[in-house]
Every structure is written in C-alpha cells, then in structure tokens.
Amino acid sequence: MSLSSFIAKLAGATALVGLSAFGVQAQTSGEAIKIGAIVSVTGAGAGLGVPERNGLLLAEKDINAKGGIKGRPIKIIVEDDASNPDTALSKANDLIFGQKVQALLGPSLTASTVAVGGVTHANKIPQIAFTGIGPAVERDRKCVAHVLPPQRLNATALLEYAKSIKATKIGVLHDAGYGNVVMAELKPLADKYGVKLVAVEKFEIGATDTTTQAAKVKAAQPEAVFIIATSATPFRNVKQIQITQPVIAAIGSSSYEYVNAMGPAADNIVIPEFVVGEDPLPHQKAFVELYKQAYNSTPKNYEAAAWDAAHIIAAALNKAGADATGEKLCEAMKAPYAGVLANYDFSADDMTGIPITSFVFSKLVGGKYTRTPFRVAQ
C-alpha cells in the first residue's frame, strides 16, 4: 500500500468514526446562524483556549447533527486573541460588525472578557464568557453570562474541603496573578469558616522555584496547604521539601498540562473542580465519550465550559427564534440551565448562578485523576 493511499484510508476511517459518534444525522438547511467565538489559542492563555476551541467545535457538530436551530445549521467562527485584550477587542468588533454574528462566546481570559464586554454590552449582543465574573463593572453587564465560577465560589470550595477534613490551620501558596484574585476572596471567607491562615506566601507568575515560600508555609505547621496558581512549580517544591499535610489546589492548575509537568509530585492532591474525565458524573458521560472519540483525549473543565456555552446560546436561539434580536436572546438566556460542567442560573446576580453543590472533588493519585465521594451538601 502506498503512503498516499494509506493516508486516504486513514482519513476515511477517521471521518467514519467521527460521524458515527453523532449517531443519526438530522438534516439542516438554510443559511447558517453565525456565532462568534474568541479564544486564546496562542500566548499565555493557550492552555485554556485550545481545549475551549475543541469544546466549541465539538458542540457545533453536535448541535447541527441534532437539527441545528429549527432546521438551520449554526456556524461558530473561532478567532484567536493571542491572549491579548487589545486583539480581543478588534476581533469582537470584526465578529459583531463585520461578520454580523448573533452572539459571542469567550474570551478565555478575564482582561479580554472585560474589554470585549464593553462592546457587547453597549450593542446588546449576548456574550457567554469562559471566565468567572471579574471586576465590579461586570455586574452591570446583564447580557454577559459566565460559564465558570466566580473566584469567591472557588475560594468557598477550597474551604469546604478543609472543613470536611477538620483542618483549621491553613498555609497558602499562591501566585501573583490568578492566585492573588482568589486569595482576595479567601481572606474574608476564612473567618466565616473558623479557619486561621497561618502562612500566606506569594510568588511571581512563571516562577521556576518557590522552595523558599513553601519552606515558610511548612514552618508555620499548617494542618492543610492550599495551592492557588496556574503552574506546576509549587506542587513540585511542596513535595521536594516533604510537606506531608493534605494539599488542596484551586481549579486553575487542574489541566493535564500542569499535571504532567508536576511529575511524581502529582500525587495526593485534592482539587475542587467539575469534570473528572476518568470517572465522570452520569450527566457528563455522553459528553466525555463524544470528546474522547473526536479527539482521542480526556476532556476537563474548559472543554466542558465551551461545550456548555455553545449549547446555552443554541437553547436561547431555539427559544427566542433564529432571527431574534440580541436583547431577546439575552432575555431567553436568563434562565436555569443544566450543563455538563455545572447547573447554571443566568438570572442570578453574578450572571453565572453556579451552586457550590456543582463542584466535584477530584484527587490526583500517581498522576491520575480519581473522583472522591465528597460533595458539598445543599
């Protein structure tokens, strides 16, 4: 068999597998409904943007395979903002005013979300961001929904797990970016949970060594350690200096990219998150299987968030009509929605409405995720 014919057969087989994953195809016809998406496929946010793009494209196939929006297909136009808010703003202007999309999904990063929100809010274009709600100005933007939890909820989830293991003296290692934001929410909540933060150590984003900070946390003799960062470094350092107390990490470091970089340190770490691809919840199973077939890898939170965002806007379009105005779509969106990642309620004040009960608590054991039985009760 020549190389070219082998490649052709392989491509054919892949296409067949891909199509069969969506079962019986429903027919769609007519002009496609355009939905814009801005994700960070390159730059510092690529770890988020690439999985989000995968989730979006899979959702597009799924929605169209199920008949689209009242028989009309949807087309998700994905643009890369290179992790830069200025680029995100230009892309949003292009998608909204140039390509005339009906709604916008993304961006991946908070700064870009706030920048783009200025355009979508002013022009009443529905937007579903792949971030938790950020600065105060976002509370006034009632047409910008969020499919990831606000940082206050992430901080609450960490404290709920600490409470469950009866840890009241906590040491915290956090970075100067994402970690700083979660930390700002964690401090006032700690008192409410009866938790004393015995050591709070900050390190630079991209730091290659945090041993000094980890040693200070160890010296304070905490009963558990929180790591709030988007980096594998603090996890490695915590193991190197033999901190034996339970380590609880925020969702920011849950991607496989970070877990692989942790190496042998990816062990005995608990993460409050949403999707454990190795052991999904019953309502997540179909999505996880579909994703595995399409991409030959296991999805996590950001893939699921993007999948949910596309389906939420599709549901709003189905409810309000394919040619509905932005304002009507926004109104249609403001309702509870049971997603793969979480149960949302976009009529909530934080434009997310994710309850703490949507969190699952995974545990890294020998570099593999397992789902713990712990859930926060209603």
Partner: protein, 317 residues
C-alpha cells in the same frame, strides 16, 4: 506650501476624512489603534532615529498614562482631561528622574537599562493591585465627551486620536527641524565631536527621553478611553518590543515611516490571523524579512526604489 505638495496632500486628507465612514467598524477600530501606536511610536522613533537610543520602556509610560486616566475617571470621578494631564506629568517626571542616571549608559547597556525599567514597571503594575486593579484591571472607563459629542464608536474616536497624532507629528517635526534636531543628529553621528562643540549630551538625551515619555503617556490615555478597560496584560515587555518595532519597520528617521510602522504592527497580525494557528510564526518571519531586506525600513526602501526609477527614467529621457 508649494502646489506639488498640495497635489498629494489634499487627496490624502480627503481619504483620511472619508475612511472611517466607508470601512467596516473593525477596520475603523484598527485605524484607531494605528493612531494610538503612531503616537507611542513617534517617541521611540525620535530616540532611535535621531539619538541612536533603543528604548524598551515605552510600555511603562503607555501604562502610566492608561492607569492615570483609568484611576482619575473611574476611582476618583474626575474629568478625563485630568487623567491625561496626570499621566503626562507623572510620566515626564519619571522619565526625567530615571533618565538622568540611565542615559549615561550607551548602546546595548542603555537598551538593557530601559528593558529593566519596563520589567520593573510591569511587575509593579501587577503587584500594586490597590492602584491598578492587578490581574482584574480597571473597567468602565468612560468614553471621551467633547463638548457634548460622545466619542463612543471607532468612527468618531478615530478623528480625535488622529488629530492628537498629527499634533504629536508636528511637535516631532519641529523638534527635528530645529537647532535641537541638528544637535541630536550631531550627537548620534559622533558623540565625541558633539561634546567637543559644547553640546550637553546628557541633558539633550534626557530632554528627548522626556518627550518620548509624554508621547507614550498620551497614547496610553487614548488607549484607556478607547478600550474602556485597562489591565496589566496591555503593558508588558512584549508591548515595549511592539512599540520599538514601529520605527524599526517603518523607518526611524522619517515621520511618515512611523505611521507605516504602526499600520504594519496593527494590520498585519490581523490579516495573518486568518491563516490559522501559525499566524504568529508568519508575523515573526515578516519582521525578519523587513529588517534583513530593508534595513532602513519600509519608507527607506520605498525612497530607494523611487530614486532608482527616477534615475532610470532620467537616463531614458
């Protein structure tokens, strides 16, 4: 003004005035960014083309202008003009205080000194979240209001930004054409000879560095009122490098070259992004190609080409 200049200036002005109304909004938005980057790039061009100084700290002054506007308008509720003035004053003062010692350095050492300034400022923008909002930034910066006329869309803001850019170009042109410009070129071409002619090199360099900071700050304030949001991600060392590219690509000694450079760094990434994930590699290759093949920038290469054709035309005639 001679009739020949008028012959090309009038059509150019007409095109400039009509452009935001005929292009799609995203292109108008890019033209606004081109104007903002022209203002920031002019300062770098003055330093690079006329003093031989590589300034990698422009994002610092750009950030100071943007944060001053954001803080004054959002946090303190002051009029926008206060933000512009505060940013300019802080940037110029900082440029003077930092410039006096570091402008004693020359060549690569000076470039590294300015790079260090940019890195320190970038870290402080992150750390001083009580002032800058840190990672979350400051949102809700009001659009500029000129005597009741709200500049709330790119086609309106375009005119304001470009009028500021033209004013900055006029300042730069006057500076280059003045006695100071002559001293600058003397210093660039032979600092020893210039010093022998009793030119105070350090004072001169500091003066241009302060002007550069003023332009950077103005650009930052313009950016803040356009984006309505500022965060640390817009003022990193990467942004300083982008600003340096503007005169390098367009032509450091020519003012139109700065506009060409600003067009290059705003439009090319946008056009290349249509080609998929490799767009950043392609942009890098385009940069290398311009720098290697056109060491005097795009405007310099165009001037050479025009001279060559003129000579050919002359020999045939």
């Amino acid at each position: 003004m001679n009739p020949r200049t008028l012959l090309w200036l009038v059509p150019c002005l007409i095109v400039w005035a009509v452009l935001p109304f005929v292009v799609p909004r995203n292109i108008a938005d890019l033209l606004v960014f081109t104007g903002i980057y022209t203002v920031a790039g002019l300062g770098i061009g003055l330093l690079l083309g006329h003093c031989g100084i590589v300034n990698l700290a422009q994002a610092t002054f750009y950030g100071l202008g943007a944060y001053a506007s954001a803080y004054c308008t959002v946090m303190m509720g002051l009029p926008s003009i206060v933000g512009f003035l505060a940013g300019a004053a802080i940037s110029m003062a900082l440029a003077y205080v930092i410039g006096r010692p570091i402008l004693r350095l020359t060549g690569y050492f000076l470039a590294l000194g300015t790079l260090a300034l940019s890195a320190i400022a970038s870290a402080l923008f992150f750390e001083w979240d009580w002032l800058t909002g840190g990672t979350l930034g400051i949102g809700g910066i009001p659009k500029l209001d000129l005597f009741g006329f709200l500049l709330d869309r790119p086609s309106r803001y375009y005119f304001f930004v470009w009028i500021v850019a033209f004013a900055c170009m006029a300042v730069a042109h006057n500076l280059i054409d003045s006695r100071t410009g002559l001293m600058l070129r003397a210093m660039r071409d032979s600092s020893t000879a210039a010093a022998a002619l009793s030119i105070d090199l350090q004072a001169l360099r500091t003066k241009v560095f302060v002007v550069c900071a003023l332009f950077g700050s103005l650009a930052g304030s313009l950016f803040a009122h356009h984006a309505s949001f500022v965060s640390t991600q817009s003022f990193t060392v990467d942004r300083s490098i982008s600003f340096l590219l503007i005169p390098v690509i367009g032509g450091a000694t020519s003012i139109p070259g700065i506009v060409v450079g600003a067009l290059f760094v705003t439009f090319l990434p946008e056009l290349l992004s249509k080609l998929g994930d490799i767009h950043q590699i392609l942009f890098g290759l385009a940069l290398v190609a311009v720098v290697v093949l056109m060491p005097e920038g795009l405007v310099g290469a165009f001037a050479k080409l025009r001279t060559r054709f003129a000579r050919k035309g002359g020999s045939h005639g």
